[in-house]
């Protein structure tokens, strides 16, 4: 990076002496140490995740070979058939051998083959990822577009009627179970009113109900979170200064206060990804949406071990990666973190 080579404080910068400008040498060292720390812990998380998912599946009761064979033929498999199946898929080797074998294949980007479909797990994942991604991004965007302004607006008028109504509605929003909400929306908008299709995938109208179902909980959460943060920021001294200076309220709230109130919101969006993934599993099952969530649940029903292992690992990897990116973004957005480190 170009910034690494800079040894003197840029004189042309408006920063006063004693305060190195953001991205200066000291800031960079702290930032780099922080990033390395996060990266190392991310690698550890992934290693432990793979070991956990592997050992968990090994301790499962019931024979996967038997379950799969019965599913394929509809008949009870014979002893010989089970033996053959297990030999072909290396299912009867010792635990440690299987685990190491799996890790070895993992380093070569191979996650095994689905016992149900016979396709590689990675391909099964990538084939369905688009549908889930579409759902997740649309729900997240909808939540931010609706939740952010409402949260800010409620914070500017604390204890007003609007604030109270929003508080009750958002509390109800985080209390509704997603699967039930989805079914009720289906009942209302597709069956009673006939406006929207309830199953299927492809057009925008198919997207509406699943996205709304997924977005309700996140929106409600976001409204509450933005409101709390905004209230805190609005009580800070620099906002009082801005008011004393005679700035218009719109400028104070939407420009000066929002900038600082948004930083924690960005962090929380990273952790909401976990919520989003869990929600996707349920929403996809309810709406028969052909994404990774539905395939994951179907694989659990069928005891499709390689798929469960692979999906847990990929989902953990995505989760860890997104949170790593959020951490980097956080350091980038909040100069205070660069100097003090994040405690």
């Amino acid at each position: 990076m170009k910034l690494n080579k800079r040894t003197t404080v840029d004189v042309s910068s408006p920063c006063r002496a004693g305060f190195p400008r953001p991205g200066g040498k000291k800031g960079n060292i702290v930032m780099r140490r922080l990033l390395i720390q996060r990266l190392v812990s991310a690698v550890f998380v992934m290693l432990i995740a793979s070991f956990l998912s592997f050992s968990l599946l090994f301790s499962a009761p019931g024979n996967p070979a038997e379950t799969i064979l019965r599913q394929q033929s509809g008949l009870d498999p014979t002893y010989d058939e089970i033996e053959l199946f297990m030999k072909r898929h290396d299912l009867n080797r010792p635990f440690l051998v299987q685990c190491l074998q799996w890790l070895y294949l993992l380093t070569h980007g191979k996650l095994g083959v689905s016992l149900r479909t016979g396709e590689p797990v990675l391909e099964e994942f990538t084939a369905r990822f688009g549908a889930t991604f579409q759902l997740a991004v649309a729900a997240m965007a909808l939540s931010v577009i609706i939740g952010l302004p409402i949260g800010v607006f409620a914070a500017t008028r604390p204890n007003s009627l609007f604030d109270h109504i929003i508080r009750i509605v958002s509390l109800a929003g985080v209390s509704i179970p997603e699967f039930w909400l989805g079914l009720m929306l289906m009942l209302c908008f597709s069956l009673a009113l006939g406006w929207l299709p309830c199953f299927g995938h492809g057009t925008v109208s198919h997207l509406v109900l699943p996205v709304v179902t997924l977005a309700v909980g996140i929106t409600a959460f976001l409204v509450r979170f933005v409101r709390t943060n905004m209230l805190e920021v609005l009580n800070l001294d620099y906002i009082k200064t801005a008011k004393a200076k005679g700035l218009r309220e719109v400028v104070i709230v939407w420009k000066h206060a929002l900038k600082n109130a948004l930083i924690p919101v960005i962090t929380i969006l990273g952790t909401q990804l976990g919520h989003l993934l869990a929600g996707a599993v349920i929403v996809e099952t309810v709406f028969s949406w052909p994404g990774i969530g539905k395939f994951f649940v179907d694989s659990i029903y069928a005891r499709d071990y390689p798929v469960i292992q692979g999906f847990v690992l990929i989902i953990a990897a995505i989760y860890v990666l997104v949170n790593l990116l959020v951490d980097i973004l956080y350091v980038y957005l909040d100069p205070r973190v660069r100097y003090e480190g994040r405690s």
């Binding site: 812990s41 991310a42 550890f44 998380v45 432990i48 995740a49 998912s53 968990l56 599946l57 301790s59 499962a60 009761p61 019931g62 509390l171 109800a172 985080v174 209390s175 509704i176 179970p177 997603e178 699967f179 039930w180 079914l183 009720m184 289906m186 009942l187 069956l191 709390t228 990804l273 976990g274 993934l277 869990a278 599993v281 349920i282 099952t285 994951f296 649940v297 659990i300 029903y301 005891r303 469960i308 847990v312 989902i315 953990a316 989760y319 860890v320 949170n323």
Partner: protein, 279 residues
């Protein structure tokens, strides 16, 4: 007296408490409140709409839905309270040890906690129940597997601040053993803020249990648990929606009442503890 005054001002706390009290009463007196046996199958009375004889109608097997919702309170509340209690106690123990002793013990415990916190917990819970097989024990195991780490982190933070206070030094000077100080002084002081966290977690846990049961991976079908009832009623959604509406309302209302209680408690609590909880 102080608590009473604050309670009066906090409508949320009161509403939440009343609702939870109602649910508790339903759970305890279920056999007296429910007009029918929740497992009584009457094929000739299947899928009746809500009416005079059946307040919420009957389901696909002719069982009275109101009676099943009332008995369902037992499963949902009991399971959620068990899961949250285990998480709370486990987290408090481990967190107190980490915070009190510090040093290598603290480092080791917090590393493990950080790693576990990096997992999307519902996915792992789904995986545990799915792999070990759906049963009540495995459901509890799945929700405890990652549930305790949140409490560990918060209790460690609380213990770190309590440890610095004068009365702990006094207890040490009087010759109190480490175990005595933790059990007698640290834990009672760390408990109230944790209780708020636990109340809010009860609502999360009710939702998780219902979701897993709905997917067929939690409490199993003939049992009158709300999520399982919805899972059974799913096939009738387009023909007889009343089968789906009431168990869902019960879940929403119970979750809402615990959210109200938790929020109210947090407002009543002193601001210092509130800060720790918001992390």
């Amino acid at each position: 007296m102080y608590i009473l005054e604050v309670t009066r001002g906090k409508k949320m706390l009161l509403t939440g408490s009343i609702l939870i009290f109602g649910f508790m009463a339903l759970a305890v007196f279920a056999p007296f409140i429910a007009p029918y046996d929740p497992d009584d199958v009457k094929v000739e009375e299947r899928l009746l709409p809500p009416g005079e004889h059946h307040l919420m109608g009957t389901d696909g097997f002719g069982r009275d839905i109101f009676s099943r919702v009332v008995f369902g309170t037992r499963y949902s509340l009991f399971l959620a309270l068990v899961v949250v209690s285990i998480n709370l106690l486990l987290g408090l123990m481990v967190g107190s040890i980490a915070g009190y002793f510090g040093g290598l013990v603290d480092e080791l415990i917090m590393r493990i906690v950080d790693i576990l916190l990096a997992f999307p917990n519902i996915i792992l819970a789904l995986c545990i129940v799915g792999v070990l097989g759906p049963s009540v024990q495995n459901l509890i195991l799945a929700l405890v597997a990652l549930g305790w780490v949140g409490y560990t982190r918060v209790s460690r933070g609380l213990v770190l601040s309590i440890k610095e206070q004068g009365f702990i030094g006094a207890a040490k000077a009087l010759g109190g053993s480490n175990m005595y100080i933790i059990m007698r002084h640290i834990i009672p002081n760390a408990f109230p803020p944790l209780l708020v966290l636990a109340t809010l977690h009860v609502s999360h846990t009710i939702l998780s249990i219902a979701a897993l049961s709905f997917l067929g991976l939690g409490v199993q079908a003939p049992t009158p648990e709300w999520g399982a009832m919805l899972s059974e009623g799913k096939q009738f959604i387009f023909t007889h929606p009343h089968v789906m509406i009431f168990p869902g309302l019960a879940i929403t209302l119970s979750v809402l009442s615990f959210n109200l209680l938790g929020e109210g408690l947090r407002d009543v609590l002193d601001p210092r503890a509130r800060e720790v909880l918001n992390v």
